[in-house]
């Protein structure tokens, strides 16, 4: 309806003349929100339609996004926006349902574990109710099912199972014939997320093998080892997908590498910013925030968004991991290093992302 505005350049131009904003449709948001929160234009609204428990500390939230949401591929993440005590918080989670489900009944699921001390995850567990509308971003990420089909090995730990669930369901539904094995590491059997669903999959999809390992049920912790890999037939020919805590992923990477599996056949998915190897010797320097007329020094261990926040500024931001570009702003002088790519910027005026940029020498930022 109103989103037609977005698609016509003339209307878009006109909208800007009339409302002084890049998203003219969002001018009406405060009113639309009252009538029907699903009509909001500034972000894609999604209604929570059901919530159920997976384990003691994990819940699955079923969301029905507004029609204009662009959809996703199995294994991708989304960032969601939730207002907590007046503050909009954005966090990224992987979608745990399959795109087929979204296409049939218009819903997606997020399976979320409480993080100790986690502001957003705990709030969602304790306060998020059905019929609430939250913000949903576009899906992103290149953790994708191989095409054409290839034998696959998943190594997942704890809540790292979520993108894998989405992929398994999608594969089962599309009659994936190549062998698929999942090694799933949990602390105890009670911590298996979506246990029913996984077992049902083994029943109806013959190419699939499920192995659940409880790491903390015996005296000595059971971690991923060569033995586990030995049990996977045809390991060398498999495409490998890793998702879980950093320790597990490092270990898996290491073991697979030693078995001669090349790097480009190993896919990992992260929830935090992977720090490219930065040469700490050249990082840090005086930071000047121009508009606020503030000077602070940095040691090179923090990104500019954190530096600004520590100086009591509140720059606009979203994902805090270099995806959404909400935090983009002008650097007027100096060099910064991008944490994702490890690349240094030029010295002059340019747009940078505050959440992934580390100063390298003195810099001036236009905030």
């Amino acid at each position: 309806m109103i989103s037609v505005l977005e698609n016509s350049p003339t209307l878009h131009w006109l909208g800007r003349q009339l409302f002084n904003r890049d998203d003219p449709a969002a001018f009406f948001d405060p009113l639309l929100e009252r009538i029907n929160p699903m009509w909001v234009q500034q972000y894609t609204p999604a209604m929570v339609t059901a919530i159920y428990n997976e384990t003691a500390d994990t819940k699955t939230f079923v969301l029905a996004p507004a029609k204009r949401w662009l959809g996703f591929e199995a294994g991708q993440h989304v960032s969601i926006g939730i207002d907590i005590d007046g503050i909009r918080r954005n966090r990224t989670f992987s979608l745990s349902s399959s795109p087929i489900r979204w296409r049939t009944d218009g819903t997606v699921t997020l399976t979320i574990k409480r993080l100790p001390g986690g502001l957003v995850t705990n709030w969602m567990h304790d306060h998020l109710e059905t019929d609430t509308v939250i913000g949903l971003g576009d899906a992103f990420g290149d953790f994708r099912i191989p095409s054409p089909q290839e034998p696959v090995l998943y190594i997942a730990g704890g809540s790292g199972i979520t993108p894998v669930l989405s992929q398994l369901e999608t594969m089962a539904a599309s009659d994936y014939r190549a062998p698929v094995t999942l090694l799933y590491f949990v602390r105890t059997q009670a911590d298996v997320i979506a246990a029913e669903k996984l077992h049902a999959l083994t029943g109806r999809w013959s190419a699939f093998t499920l192995k659940v390992y409880a790491t903390s049920e015996t005296e000595t912790p059971q971690f991923l080892s060569d033995q586990h890999l030995d049990e996977v037939p045809g390991l060398a020919g498999r495409r490998c997908y890793l998702c879980g805590p950093k320790g597990l992923m490092d270990l898996a990477n290491d073991l697979l590498y030693r078995r001669g599996i090349s790097e480009d056949r190993i896919h990992s998915t992260f929830f935090s910013v992977p720090a490219a190897n930065l040469d700490s010797g050249t990082l840090g320097g005086a930071v000047h925030f121009e508009r606020s007329n503030l000077d602070v020094s940095s040691e090179g261990d923090a990104v500019l968004l954190e530096i600004a926040e520590a100086a009591k500024l509140s720059p606009r931001h979203g994902c805090r991991m270099g995806i959404c570009h909400q935090c983009s702003c002008r650097k007027t002088s100096g060099t910064v290093v991008n944490r994702l790519t490890g690349k240094a910027s030029g010295p002059g005026e340019e747009t940078i992302q505050l959440c992934v940029s580390v100063p390298s020498g003195p810099v001036s930022i236009d905030i």
């Binding site: 003349q17 904003r21 009406f28 500034q42 207002d83 007046g86 503050i87 007329n293």
Partner: protein
């Protein structure tokens, strides 16, 4: 300005910081609800005003539509735009209420305002020669400017500035007085002028071309109503703003006395250079809480609807340190603004005789 030594200034700084910290620690849901409610009110008034305006050939409807649109512009400029662009709601992390991206419904561009107002005016408040908001380089309001015969007509300038206030504010950054004095060249201002014409054109197009045109048969009515709404907004906001720093007891400062000043000294200057006026709740909302100019100047980035709550604490701090807290009814404060504008249009001798309260021995430091 009241003389205070560094220890006293330090204590003043701490007292005020305590108030500030309390509010910051308490920010949350309530503030978000407040500003969203005001935004909703603005949208309703604007949509209402625009929809009613074509029916303005019926006189009472014309009045209602013009008033609705005028008030909508006032609320958007004062309580939303001005305050959002001060960063009062940045902590909400809501893109539509963020200081760095907000663009308001007036000729002055957000960027220009952030430079001239947030930075210059709020840093150099009432320092003659540095705060160009003091008199807008158009009016002589203190002894620091030497009287010239041209000043005797400044009341006309004052009226014109009020009527065309949004254009005056929009052109503020041009620094035409410095161009006239050849301190800077027009060429340096070309980027600014480009932005000014783009934004000004946009505002004029919307109110004076687009909306009259789409209601073609009643175009003159819609045009008149839109002109009226802009006029209401211009007169009201200029008046509120003049009451902030041009009242009888609002002090001015010299560059020397503020050189290398401490935070405490800055606080003192904000306290003595600003003035409040009293009124009902809607008076405060319609003035963007600039009726609490004193609180606004010491805490420009605290949500403005909090100023009434902390006003008593601020007064207590002033009392403790023997600093005057400048307030009075709107009528009283405004009449002293008019007196100041008129008084300083006269040669000094005449002013001293006719308006002795504005003589150098009086309120001026």
């Amino acid at each position: 300005m009241k003389k205070m030594n560094e220890t006293q200034l330090k204590e003043l700084e701490q007292d005020l910081d305590t108030i500030r910290d309390q509010v910051i620690a308490d920010l949350g849901e309530r503030d978000a609800r407040y500003i969203r409610r005001i935004v909703r009110l603005h949208r309703s008034l604007e949509v209402g005003g625009r929809v009613l305006m074509p029916f303005g050939f019926i006189p009472p409807v014309f009045i209602a539509a013009t008033a609705a649109l005028g008030i909508s512009k006032i609320i958007e400029n004062m309580e939303i735009g001005h305050n959002v662009m001060h960063g009062q709601y940045d902590w909400m992390n809501d893109t539509s209420l963020h200081s760095q991206t907000y663009e308001w419904d007036t000729v002055c561009t957000g960027d220009s305002w952030r430079r001239t107002h947030n930075y210059e005016h709020h840093t150099y408040t009432n320092i003659i020669g540095k705060d160009r908001d003091y008199g807008y380089a158009l009016l002589r309001l203190s002894d620091d400017d030497k009287w010239k015969p041209a000043h005797s007509l400044q009341f006309i300038n004052y009226v014109l500035l009020s009527v065309f206030f949004q254009w005056g504010v929009g052109l503020h950054e041009l620094e035409s007085e410095r161009i006239r004095r050849r301190e800077i060249s027009v060429r340096e201002k070309i980027p600014f002028l480009k932005d000014f014409f783009r934004k000004g054109g946009r505002q004029a197009f919307k109110d004076y071309v687009f909306f009259p045109l789409v209601t073609f048969p009643v175009a003159p009515v819609v045009l008149a109503g839109n002109v009226g709404a802009n006029l209401i907004r211009n007169l009201w906001s200029s008046t509120v703003i003049f009451c902030g720093h041009f009242t009888q007891d609002a002090e001015t400062f010299s560059e020397e006395e503020c050189e290398g000043e401490s935070k405490g000294h800055w606080y003192l200057r904000q306290l003595t250079g600003s003035s409040n006026f009293t009124g009902g709740k809607w008076m405060h909302v319609m003035s963007g809480h600039l009726s609490y100019q004193v609180e606004h100047h010491i805490f420009p980035d605290l949500p403005a609807h909090r100023y009434p709550e902390i006003s008593e604490q601020v007064q207590a701090v002033c009392k403790k340190h023997g600093i005057p807290y400048n307030t009075g009814t709107f009528a009283r404060q405004y009449s002293t603004v008019l007196k100041r504008v008129l008084g300083y249009s006269l040669p000094d001798r005449m002013r001293n005789r006719m308006l002795p309260e504005f003589s150098s021995a009086g309120a001026q430091s």
